[in-house]
Symmetry: C2
Subunit: 344 residues, 2 copies
Amino acid sequence: MMQRHTTIRDVARLAGVSVGTVSRVLNGHRSVTPETMRKVMSVMEAHAYQPNAVAQSMRTRNTRMVGFIISDISNTLFSSIVKAAEGVLQEAGYTLVLANTGEGTVREVELIHLLQQRRMDGLIMTVFQEGNTAVQEAIQNLRLPVVLLDRELPIPVDAVYADHASGMFQATKHLLELGHRRIALITESRLNRPGRERIRGFEQAFQSLGLTPDPDFICSRSLSAEYGFRESYSLLTGSHRPTAIIAGGNQILVGLLKAVRLCSVRIPEDLSVISCDDTDLTALATPPVTVVQRSVRDMGRQAAALLIQGLEEGPGGEPRRILLPTELLLRQSCAPPCEEASRE
Amino acid sequence: MMQRHTTIRDVARLAGVSVGTVSRVLNGHRSVTPETMRKVMSVMEAHAYQPNAVAQSMRTRNTRMVGFIISDISNTLFSSIVKAAEGVLQEAGYTLVLANTGEGTVREVELIHLLQQRRMDGLIMTVFQEGNTAVQEAIQNLRLPVVLLDRELPIPVDAVYADHASGMFQATKHLLELGHRRIALITESRLNRPGRERIRGFEQAFQSLGLTPDPDFICSRSLSAEYGFRESYSLLTGSHRPTAIIAGGNQILVGLLKAVRLCSVRIPEDLSVISCDDTDLTALATPPVTVVQRSVRDMGRQAAALLIQGLEEGPGGEPRRILLPTELLLRQSCAPPCEEASRE
């Protein structure tokens, strides 16, 4: 029952134009008159003509495919960014090709090469560790438009950042004003921009009141729920306990809340809690959790828009950097420290 | 600073073989001796040769790209399935191309055509509404291996299902044995397999005790949090109130918990709650929520494995169907109905 596919030659014959004209219609060439365009399009529709995109991309040298490299698609934060970016790309006629690195730097370089072989027109990506020079080199060697998500590399590349420092400053200030001094921060490594910026905002809030945070209370090694649990448990069962903990990531909060439950600690009576990024869990936990919020939708949309701009303008311009705001969303997980705890 | 790329001709010249031999190495042809293979490979590595995958796929007629069409990548359930599938596909040398339909059937047909144009080797997908004949036709016309996720279509196509009926039977039986009779179920439409199967399991549990569920307590129109909220709020504020509600989806639970909070209803004292699919929220809610569990990781892995099998064996075989188990995970969100409520 194999039916012969309609070819570009059939379309040209039926529309009474040359194959070159059909090709120009397909590639959106400006020299085609609207009348010819309509005629060719109606023949294509009537005969369900499917242009061979692979052959087409050989001619136009672009595939209208954009690669998206991400470290954990199952994190709702990342998948919301992907979803928003994909919406914008699709409107502009691009298809999104997704690749998941997992947590590791080796696969990153491999995947960059793979997507290069697949002739992506551009890439949106995060990077597992900013300091990895192999990844930096791989990105530069691509000679394609690339947009980084929340990473700062010493190479000329477009990027979208969240203003983590400002949100963390507000969060820490809020706790300090409630009377907390023993405030712990659990976040990812200083080696990546979000960790670095969160710690900067945290320290600046202390400094704004002439205070210095306890360095033992800054835990910055990973974004995972396991790390969040381990550090929280160790802080809550130690001799020198914090009266407030800030989770610098939605998975860290998952670990923190598990430790809180295990230690039978009451929020906010025994411990004030602030998290980063609003999720179903922060909104529906008991009590609901105060968060440093940002629009992940904006992050995805802006990254896609930057990439499309790069694709249209070609390489060579100054790198573009977009900084998106964060804000503190107050809920019921913070209270003044109880007397006993603050005397300890 | 544009450097000339190493071409296939350069590799052939440097390795002292013909261009055809290099091409056979690239395509993994068996006629190449191991010695020639090693020689060609080492030249490729030394000169950082990047085969042009687009040109290559023109010759081999496959792109080693697999499309994945999904309705909401930001739902942690779907993104976990994607992540698991992607892991298996990557190991087998396939790249995953992701496309997000949003909730709507028009984009589905469009996206199937788009991925066909992009010459995917196969597709993994869910379908927004099983009854949509345009989507069924589009899938059949693909003449490519396709694996459906949790959808039953009257066309010969591979599929991976979860055994929703069995898990829902156990959940409903558990509530009935606690003494509940006024049990409500909020789930997606009967027009799709998961909704149909959940309702079947729900009704069978009642029947197993010689009972019939109240048809007013079966709400089956959508999987969204908004729908979950609206139906829960209407049930909890109505004159004929349920003593237990089962949320047939993780987003429905989000809406249900919002309604529970708004109505100041206590779980499990005033209302027993069971949800479907285990998430951070079900584990960390107060109290933790009893769930009908399944392995979304297995669903993704099995779908990828089925597709790879289809790609290797080619079309024409009997459709393969895999049924994955569900089980009831007991937590603290269920209790016997309080006397007052059960007398109402």
